[in-house]
Amino acid sequence: MGGVGDDEPASKRMKLSSEELRHLSNGSTLKEPIVRSTRDLMARPLQSEGGEEVFGPKGIIKKVEFVRIIAKALFSLGYVKSGAHLEEESGIALHSSLVNVFMKQILEGDWEGSVVTLNNIGLTDEMTIKSACFLILEQKYFEFLDEEKVTDALKTLRTEISPLCINDSRVRELSLFIVSPSRCFSVQSPKQDTSRARSRTKLLEELQKLLPPTVMVPERRLEHLVEQALVLQRDACMFHNSLYKEISLYADHQCARDQIPSYALQILQVHTDEIWSLQFSHNGKYLASSSNDCSTIIWEVDANGVSLKHKLSGHQKPLSSVSWSPNDHQLLTCGVEEVVRRWDVSSGECLHVYKKAGLGMVSCGWSPDGNWIFSGVNDKSISMWELDGKELECWKGQRTLKISDLEITSDGKHIISICRETAILLLDREAKVERFIEEDQTITSFSLSRDNRFLLVNLLNQEIHLWSIEGDLKLVSKYRGHKRTRLIIKSCFGGLKEAFIASGSEDSLVYIWHRGTGELIEALPGHSGAVNCVSWSPANPHMLASASDDRTIRIWGLNKPSTKKKDTHSNGIHHCNGST
């Protein structure tokens, strides 16, 4: 079998049936642990230093524990006979006989008996014994209440529960149940939201969590361990970008590169100057691009690809940014130190122009309910407007810079903008609290994750930093490789569960990193000028758009030889120049 380092003579190894051998060779990648451990099941167990028998190639699995969790899993699967047979054959009982008695007593409601057994099981921690007693007696109390035996319940509370002298607040809550049973929806204890007793099986589960795992093996322990390994494999998989890729137990999971969009499926050539901003709508059905040519284009995304829907003209200055309304029906566009315009997506009509006398807008964003818009102003303030143009609020002072992006979290609470050369302001506008992300280098742009928990920050020194902004502000990862020396280059989150980071670059490549490991996985050539911005479709993890100084937008996708259209060029790239 080509095993590494196993010197056992063949006679000691039991013969594997041909069916088992087939399973082993099917999908095995010779990654040591998985394949070899199946074979080692037949091998003689080793002796660890501690004296306990160990199991498995690394000698770190305790055999007794392993057998017990397998037995537990067999019982959970309903294979009671197999579970019992395993206990017999291995000589290792899942639970001691006392524990079995205890479990039976709980399920039968023999409260006095169970308390006695509990004290005999041999627990060392007195607090655990008391807490377990509390749970049992609490159940007794509730069952009395359910049977309307109020005096018995009261007696239990007074003479059995109270003397335990633990959890006094819960004791007080329990007494309230007698006073007004119908009204009691306890806010403090979420597990008890009716005054009825929960099932005895539930009680057993709670006790299992309380008692040490050596006494009672926790529910679903083997499943938990297996899932943990699978999740770790999936998270380490650098190319994992498809929902339907199942993870098998037979071999360590590793996707091939083919799920990462790396083929230019379309080149959109309509803008007449550099494109500086690009953004898919929330539903992925539209793409907005804005340009130095003072126009914004709304593109429509459907099964046939990306096509031009509207060209929005009206700005007198180049566009700095765009922002989709939460329901994707409207679009905000901002001219560089000019005005903010609000457009209707289906008609292409300009619905409103927002301006401030003597000042220019630098960024724009929507409130999550779509009723207000925000914009950064070139006097460093941030304004908030009603849709009809009435200015509601203005945060003055050092709130935003001329080159800053603007984001509002989807709970509407936080406004995010670059407020100083090396700092990003997170302004909680309700609590009026300010937090700052402080960097050592100048910040050039940033991007907010869809779940609002992370911020991707682009720095002057060509690094991209990932910050966690939920709770404490923490630097999580750094991404390097792209080029930035003079321009504002934007980056974004994307792919399945936003597991990837994409960025533009001054060397005309589109860079893609695996977010979790920080590894650079793609640098896509094609553009003939600096790639200023990228946007990954929120609806389609296989569609990435990039826009460049070369005036084009590239739509990147998977290499699928799918629909061939009449006007496709021989290299398979579909060009769209806006003519119908």
């Binding site: 550099e274 500086w276 050039t444 020396t485 003079r486 321009l487 504002i488 001054e506 000028g529 100084d549």
Partner: protein, 128 residues
């Protein structure tokens, strides 16, 4: 050329002679006794809105230094150089600092500097 990332300085500013982009603050001048091919040059602790060229070892008036030429990001014209590494111990204070040629920048009052006729061949100085 893309959307330039421009840092705007506040205070008395030296800017690029051609495109007026801010380069450095008067407050950040470390020394005015430097020289370049075009005459006077100032050493600054901080310069913004420049991009750097390739690292080069250059023999200057005060010894061997590793420098990079710096270019205005707006118009690309060379405006001076930055010290990356000083080979002599006494010159270490220059590391990380940048020199702007007076000829290439407009002063805070908008003034320009004209190349004097006795330009030296050498660059550098501060001490001899």
């Amino acid at each position: 050329m893309g959307r330039l990332f421009v840092v705007n300085l506040e205070g008395k500013v030296y800017s690029c002679k051609h495109c007026k982009i801010h380069l450095a603050l008067v407050d950040d001048i470390v020394s005015k006794s430097f020289q370049s091919r075009h005459g006077k040059a100032y050493l600054f602790s901080k310069v913004v809105n420049v991009s750097a060229g390739e690292k080069e070892d250059r023999m200057m008036m005060t010894g061997l230094h590793t420098v990079v030429d710096i270019f205005c990001i707006g118009c690309g014209s060379i405006v001076g150089w930055k010290y990356e590494f000083a080979h002599e111990k006494g010159q270490k204070y220059k590391e990380g600092k940048s020199v702007l040629e007076r000829f290439k920048v407009s002063g805070p009052d908008g003034s320009h500097y004209w190349v004097s006729h006795e330009t030296h061949g050498g660059s550098d100085a501060d001490d001899v």
